[in-house]
Amino acid sequence: MLSFALTILLDGISYGMVLFIISVGLTVTMGLMRVINLAHGAFAMIGGYVAGYLTQHGFEFYLALVLATLVSGFLGGLCEMTVIRPLYRKGELAQVLLTIGIVFVVTALITEIFGAFPYRVEFPTYLTQPVDIGFRTYPAYRLFLILVGGLIALILWLLIEGSLYGAKLRAAVDNAGMARAVGMNVNLLFTATFIIGTAFAGLGGAIGSGILSLEPSYALKYVVLFLVVVIVGGEGSFKGSFVAAMALGIIDTTGKYFVAAAAPYLLYGAVFVLLLWRPQGILPPKSLA
């Protein structure tokens, strides 16, 4: 019984880690820049497809991951500088529509290039095998996800808490006008943050493809999940989105184990009730932390 519970917990956490890696960028961009970015899933999908293409064509797995991360980040930066920047001054509606437009364009291009069928990332063999973790054997892939997710959470925490970049970011969250007045280049800060966010999305899309499978509808299908993580966690709250990602991962996995048919309602139902109860999220940020 205990080992069963632990299995569910591990499944939930590894799933939550994928959600966290992909959504963490969205947390910062939505919290900081106040842009409702429905195209975030598209960048995760791009990362996944790049990694898939490269690994299927003989590239080394980790090199493919790095390239997928870079491509997503690069395209994210390009998007920010061209079409997203004019959105900062416009309302929610313009943001929602323009980013949906990006989703449509990316989805069509991906379907045209790679076809409408699910697409695979080739993982190294040692990740596809189960390993012994004491009370049972467990897929190495999921342990790998937990490891990478934990590492990224730690790095981001150190970055935001400890570096000058983090201090500037927190300053710009609290008061963008004042940050500009003391001579910070807030535009550059925004672009950099957007690049980092979309790069993480690309990485998450690539390594998470064993759980969130790659297909052209990925961008629209999963973006709801990513948004849920951000909103439930509290916009701009780094810790909140970590907690929310874990909670969603565990709720969804538990639901799938016990009441497979009701799992989707359980997830969205939980989100619905939670948002009615706390419209600002679980941990609404006083500041970005």
């Binding site: 529509l97 323009l98 949906i100 364009v105 379907t111 619905f272 948002l275 419209p279």
Partner: protein, 339 residues
């Protein structure tokens, strides 16, 4: 010495003024086109019916999103519910289209009222997420309740009795077209009265500054709930038309793409002017029809580009093209004068 008169200020409240000043000809034109189309369309009549249905659907969104400023991505929930309600009613209860239509409208209005009452006190992203959650729950339900809805295969075997007991729904689609046109005309007149009533004006105020409207004693939440319910009923009506005219309800009516497409149509045509939905739906479906022939995925690409371009360059939609063009010409002319 220039004095700043209100006239020299840029026209704010885009659309409402222009729409109010539309001449009789402007009003008659779209309906005349719709009537003439009936006689000349031939094999394209079913396409015309689709256009009418999407106009009605976009019109419903214009009330909630355009006039009241309710930024929702949940409109597909009402369209889908209306379609399934009409389809299921035809299969299990009575095949009379008028009764089925009224039932579908009633069901969606009630659903809009209940969900609206729950979620309308939130705003912004939270509201957006709640509408997404509602659509997602309904989609998953319709997907899994295969016995009731047919799941992924869609709801089939909808038999619709002749309209008013006389006009049969034939494969040529004459009945469906007239039926859709009459329903659309009814809702349009109704919407026109609503947005130009004091109630409609209060919605304008709520969109611009809810706090101030509250301060002058407007029951903001109740007004929003009223327009949200009306919007739901209209979207449900469009869904019922869709189910009756095609004798089929696909699962995709409840998908997020449907919500996205209806927003595209409205924005493309022009928000907050009612007729924007007419222009948007026509252009959108023509482009979709044409580009789907080029490649099955090409239309999605084109739609995406149209959306991005509309948001960036043409905030008032296609209905605003004239004004934007005039401004552009004026600027060129002014520059020539300076030289």
């Amino acid at each position: 010495m220039t004095t700043l008169t209100p006239k020299s200020l840029p026209a704010s409240g885009l659309g409402t003024m222009a729409a109010g000043q539309l001449s009789f000809v402007g009003h008659a034109l779209p309906w005349a086109i719709a009537v003439v189309f009936f006689f000349v369309a031939g094999g394209y009549l079913s396409f015309g019916t689709q256009v009418l249905i999407w106009i009605l659907f976009a019109l419903s969104l214009d009330l909630a999103l355009g006039y009241a400023g309710i930024v929702t991505l949940g409109q597909a929930a009402f369209f889908g519910l209306g379609a399934y309600a009409a389809g299921l009613f035809a299969i299990h209860a009575s095949s009379d289209p008028v009764v089925g239509h009224l039932v579908a409208v009633g069901v969606t209005a009630l659903f809009g009222f209940v969900t609206g009452a729950l979620i309308l006190h939130t705003t912004g992203v939270t509201f957006l997420m709640l509408t997404l959650a509602i659509v997602s729950i309904m989609f998953e339900y319709a997907n899994q309740a295969t016995k009731l809805t047919g799941g992924d295969d869609g709801l089939q075997g909808i038999n619709v009795a002749p309209l008013l007991g006389v006009f049969e729904f034939s494969i040529f689609g004459q009945t469906a077209y007239v039926y859709a046109l009459v329903v659309l005309f009814f809702w349009f007149v109704f919407s026109w009265r609503v947005v130009n009533s004091p109630f409609g004006r209060s919605l304008d105020g709520i969109r611009q500054k809810p706090a101030r409207m509250r301060a002058i004693g407007t029951p903001v939440w109740r007004r929003l709930l009223a327009i949200y319910t009306l919007s739901a009923a209209m979207a449900g009506s469009a869904g019922a038309l869709s189910a009756h005219s095609t004798s089929f309800v696909g699962l995709s009516v409840l998908s997020l793409v449907t919500s996205g497409v209806v927003a595209v149509i409205l924005i493309l045509g022009g928000i907050r002017r009612l007729y924007g939905a007419f222009v948007g739906a026509t252009i959108y479906l023509l482009v979709q029809d044409w580009s789907a022939k080029v490649s099955p995925y090409f239309w999605e690409f084109i739609v995406g580009l149209m959306l991005i371009a509309t948001v960036l360059f043409l905030e008032g939609g296609l209905m605003d093209l004239g004004r934007v063009g005039r401004n552009f010409l004026n600027r060129i002319r002014n520059r020539a004068d300076v030289k």
